[in-house]
């Protein structure tokens, strides 16, 4: 097996013979939990902002008659109101969640329901204030994480796939699909799919999110017009921002599911205290 610095990380064995290793340094643990809380606030305040004009377009401006996506409510054939999501030429009935939902018993016409937005009431001004304050926290937290990750070598050690992992990519995918997770020494490093996913998230999706957000700003468009061009116009940037938010939500859902099925307690202990158990496997007998 090719030498991987992660696999050589020091470990200790407790009196019961369980192998432990220090998986997550403090900076990374803090950055992880701050990121989780900040992303939740950004998502919910972002949905509040989206609700002020629940339609997406492509290009520089809004083509009001012809949105790429729209969340509306309309009177159904039976006379009752219903929520509708329109994507291109396709419409979906989303009554109860999107377009039309209930808030404290009353039927309300709003794109995303009150339980999904911050503030829960329709309040664009306060939603924007939450969003921009927490956008700064996301950027500062992300900068600390990346600076630490680069200078400590953690980013390379944790997230860049090792040579043997790339060669066995297919095998890793098969193991992953069967929900079989590495044990023992091999569990000291992320598997190749994990590494690539985290890389896409921290170097791709999250920075793209921040840049697409900035590209919507008329002030930034004056200062850095190339940024808005990069996304193909302000309304495109708004759509990219929305789609990227959806991808981050998808990541979080899969991430949390995998954390649960691959050992909730050990994973949570690892991300809270740093210590991760490699179990009591045969290798201890060496």
């Amino acid at each position: 097996m090719a030498a991987s610095p992660a696999l050589e990380a020091p470990e200790t064995v407790d009196r019961q013979g369980r192998r432990w290793f220090y998986r997550h340094p403090l900076v990374i643990r803090l950055a992880h939990w701050i990121n989780a809380a900040v992303l939740l606030v950004l998502l919910m305040s972002g949905l509040q902002i989206f609700n002020a004009h629940p339609a997406l377009y492509w290009g520089a401006v809004s083509t009001f008659d012809n949105p790429a996506l729209a969340i509306t409510s309309e009177q159904g054939p039976g006379g009752a109101n219903r929520g509708v999501v329109t994507v291109g030429a396709h419409s979906f009935d989303t009554t109860g969640i999107l377009g039309l939902s209930r808030d404290s018993g009353a039927e309300v016409e709003r794109a995303f329901p009150s339980w999904a937005t911050l503030p829960s009431d329709q309040d664009l001004a306060t939603g924007r204030r939450w969003h921009f304050l927490f956008a700064w926290l996301l950027v500062i937290n992300g900068a600390v994480y990346l600076a630490y990750g680069l200078f400590s070598g953690q980013l390379r050690r944790r997230l860049i796939p090792d040579g043997d992992q790339i060669r066995d990519f297919g095998g890793s995918v098969k193991e992953h699909l069967r929900l079989r997770f590495p044990e023992g020494t091999e569990a000291k490093r992320y598997n190749v799919i994990q590494k690539l996913t985290y890389l896409v998230l921290v170097l791709g999706l999250l920075p793209a999110m921040v840049l697409a957000g900035l590209a919507m700003s008329p002030g930034m468009d004056a200062a850095w017009p190339w940024l808005t061009d990069l996304f193909g116009g302000r309304q495109s940037a708004r759509s990219v921002h929305f789609i990227a938010a959806g991808l981050i939500v998808l990541f979080v859902v899969v991430h949390v599911l995998l954390v649960i099925v691959s050992g909730l307690v050990n994973n949570m202990r690892g991300m809270i205290t740093g210590w991760f158990s490699l179990g009591r496997d045969r290798e201890t007998a060496r």
Binding site: M44, S62, W130, L133, P225, R234, M268
Partner: protein, 321 residues
């Protein structure tokens, strides 16, 4: 055992989450919360101004990209009698007042304004709600007016006083019994409310032949006997739209008082006779129905002190993002 612990953890996380988000709304309602949430705006202003200069221009577009329909938002048909009188006469009696901390106060008709140096620009209007339209604006640069009025050294902000009443102090938009506490929640809500209430003739304006908002001038029966700032007949104090910018934005060449949209006189729905364009900021800064430009040292004494109608209702004074 493990399963129970998992259940407990999940339930616990749910509880903490709910409490946290309910707490967010409560926190935002406190003074400390409001001050904390404002930090983001201060950071945005500071950093964006680091990245640009007073003269940095907003992007301009080719004529082919002009939007076929420039969405009117906020007030689209001011109910105020004084405004309706002006509109009925195609704004021939309109005078823009420039006063406050200036050495030479000005009073200029539309013809006077059209005789001054003009600027035309095709720019993108970005509404705080999220949509955008491109339009061609022509008008007089604010700097031309300020040059003629000669600023006193204490002047720091230009305040734009507008003709349109959005609500009455202590009362609602529909007025009458004074029981309503309706307030627009966001700029689009004003348009919706006007469309809904257009049928009622007791909303400050004279009844019109048609309830539907119009895009041309001169509708409504004029009642020219009242001065612009007069309180409504039943003694209620109107709260009119206002906006403010600092001299950093006032000096920008693209900051104009526009009288034309897409080569034609500005329609009432888009802010006739004059609309502010401050292109590096969002739509609610682009005050419509501008009657008076007042130069001030501080924004504290105006409205509720935050520098604009929407700013007094929680929106950022710096709307560059």
């Amino acid at each position: 055992m493990i399963l129970q612990r998992r259940k407990l953890l999940t339930a616990g996380a749910g509880l903490v989450g709910t409490a946290l988000l309910g707490g967010c709304d409560r926190f935002a309602g406190t003074d400390t919360g409001q001050r904390t949430l404002k930090v983001g705006e201060d950071a945005n202003l500071y950093v964006q101004r680091l990245l640009m200069s007073p003269a940095t221009l907003a992007r301009e577009f080719p004529a082919a990209m002009i939007s076929p329909w420039f969405k009117p938002n906020g007030t689209i048909d001011p109910p105020d009698r004084a405004f309706r009188a002006l509109a009925a006469n195609r704004f021939a009696d309109f005078k823009l007042v420039v006063d406050g901390l200036v050495q030479t106060p000005l009073s200029l008709s539309l013809a006077d304004l059209r005789a001054l140096p003009a600027r035309s620009q095709i720019t993108r209007h970005d509404c705080v709600e999220g949509w955008s339209c491109i339009g061609q604006w022509s008008g007089v640069p604010l700097s031309e007016l300020l040059k003629r009025a000669k600023l006193k050294p204490q002047a720091r902000y230009a305040v734009f006083h507008c003709a349109d009443t959005l609500e009455y102090a202590g009362g609602g938009l529909e007025g009458g019994d004074g029981a309503s506490l309706w307030r627009p929640g966001h700029p689009g809500a004003v348009r919706d409310a006007y469309v809904q209430l257009a049928a009622a003739d007791d909303w400050g304006g004279a009844p019109t032949k048609s309830d539907a908002p119009k895009d041309d001038w001169g509708q409504g029966a004029p009642d020219a006997t009242e001065p612009a700032d007069a309180p409504a007949k039943d003694g209620r104090t109107p709260i009119r739209y206002y906006e403010s910018i600092d001299l950093y934005d006032a000096a920008n060449p693209q900051t104009i008082l526009a009288y034309d949209l897409n080569g034609k006189p500005l329609p009432v729905s888009n802010g006739a006779p004059l609309r502010l364009r401050v292109e590096r900021q969002l739509g609610y800064k682009q005050a419509k129905y501008v009657m008076r430009v007042e130069l001030v040292e501080s924004l504290k004494g105006l409205g509720q002190g935050s520098g604009g109608y929407w700013e007094d209702r929680g929106y950022e004074w710096y709307a560059g993002i």
